[in-house]
Amino acid sequence: MSRQGKRKTKKGIGIAFCTCVYLFLFLPILVIVVNSFNATTSKPYLTWKGFTFDWYVRLFDNGALLSSFGNTIIIAVVSTLLATMIGTLGAFGMYKYKFKGKGVIDGLLYIPVVIPEIVLGISLLSLFTNVNIPRGMLTLILAHVTFSVPFVIFNVRARLSGYDNSIEEASMDLGANRVITFFEITLPVLAPGIAGGALLAFTLSIDDVIISYFVNGQTKTYPLKVMESIKSGVAPDVNALSTLILLGTIVLVVLTQSDFLKKKKA
């Protein structure tokens, strides 16, 4: 075979391989999307009974499902805000100041990242039960902040590694005290790292099943609602909501990405 021919075959194999991987990744999504249009009304909602948009309408009558989605959003927003605030301050302080026990904090940070989620879930459950914090929205938020904080810190830290300390000194030199310097200089410069961390925290929060499963009490999040419905077969309206969420996130990403690209050009 000629050199070019060989290269073409290689490229062809590569493309075929990648396509297979993407198919593997998107297959279940396809199932979800297709099933959201399934006209069947009998459990376990598996047989195809024809095409309908009904579920996208009926979805809005399913109060329990909608409220679970609402809970998920509330928990994700609140826990992301908290985790981002605590994490950003922490990452900054650990980078900037000298104090004893830094190694201990570092070690604690890695625990939620590497330990299986179920261990964190049951240990938080045990704690909440032992100190009598009623399980619900509050415990969910506390738990979500706990597993997101390290990710925020790592992201901010990555940004800090290229950070020039002297800009803060310059700010103080020009008459800004530490607090003003933090808000005028430090925070805006670290913003991309903070935003990255926040996005990751948000993503982890809305998708979390295992930890929420242990600390939820009676407050159902959307993933927990899905878990509940799996026993009896996932209803098409759940599929419909998933499809909508997916669509929403894609639109959001396309919008922010294109905006980002535009800014880069300017």
């Binding site: 598996l46 904090i105 590497v114 049951i122 240990s123 099943v209 899905v226």
Partner: protein, 288 residues
């Protein structure tokens, strides 16, 4: 002098690092210590945890049925990790080495599926593979098989589900490691007379090994705990350690035993992380 030290270092470090320290102490350190304590506790007649020291929970860990599940769980995690490496490595290599514009899109395409709830996607696999699922329907329609195939509820499907859930955690570090590879190194290696295979084993693999290590940590450890995958796709036939723990904390209601089982997971995690660090792994690259 003291005042300056307080304003320049002590106070700001307290304000910045204080909250996260307290948080980690209260919601990570204390709960884990409590689980450790609980694993030595007994149950009273109402199934409440009482602080009476016992080693019973640890003795029960050596139950043959449990040991079988540990073995099965490690096997599933191991297979999942191997498959993830074998598929994700060439895949990451191909997308990381694509020309710039398409690269970002190809990368995003790996992430996008994960914005859909993982449970519902696992359920999607169940729908696809079930006896009345898409695959069987198609096979029968095409007269390839006459009877529906039992594709669900064994170890293989659990591994498939695990691979599916954890695949991006292998791709991300590999992609980062491969993207960092300096193209001129490959050229230098070829220039020095190395054939494709030797370039791979002599240059590429050693330089991207860190990605394989961190990917393996991020796949293997969660695979021991992902009980819902084993639940949905394994149907109780391929439980992992996570299932054992989950049962003790929910239906079984034997928290001390569940705590002792968790200690196994904690020990495995510590061991693997130690090995990872010995191999020169950077903890930070596990987080992003």
């Amino acid at each position: 002098m003291k005042k300056h030290q307080w304003r320049a270092n002590t106070l700001p470090s307290l304000v910045t690092v204080g909250p996260v320290t307290l948080w980690l102490l209260f919601f990570v350190a204390v709960p884990l210590i409590y689980v450790g304590v609980m694993s030595f506790c007994s149950l009273d007649q109402y199934y409440n945890v009482t602080f009476q020291f016992t080693l019973d929970n640890y003795k029960r860990l050596f139950d043959v049925n449990y040991i079988k599940i540990y073995g099965q769980s490690v096997l599933i995690a191991f297979l999942t990790t191997i498959i993830c490496i074998l598929v994700a490595y060439p895949f990451s290599f191909l997308i990381a080495r694509t020309k710039s514009k398409k690269k970002m899109i190809l990368y995003m395409l790996v992430i996008i599926p994960f914005w859909t709830n993982s449970l519902i996607r696992i359920y999607g696999w169940k729908t696809f593979l079930g006896t009345t699922g898409w695959l069987n329907t198609a096979l029968q329609f095409l007269h390839i098989t006459s009877e529906p195939l039992e594709l669900l509820f064994h170890r293989g499907t659990t591994v498939l589900g695990m691979v599916y859930c954890l695949f991006p955690f292998m791709v991300l570090p590999l992609y980062t490691a491969i993207e960092k590879l300096d193209g001129s190194l490959l050229e230098a290696s070829a220039d020095l007379g190395a054939k494709g295979f030797s370039t791979f084993f002599e240059v590429i693999l050693p330089l991207t090994a860190s990605g394989i290590f961190s990917g393996s940590i991020m796949v293997f450890i969660p695979a021991l705990g992902y009980f819902f995958v084993a639940d949905i796709l394994g149907g109780g036939n391929s439980d992992v350690i996570g299932n054992l723990i989950e049962r003790q904390f929910q239906s079984g209601n034997n928290w001390p035993l569940g705590a002792a089982l968790s200690i196994i997971l904690i020990l495995i995690t510590l061991l693997l992380v130690k090995i990872y660090q010995k191999l020169g792994g950077d903890m930070e690259s596990l987080g992003v």
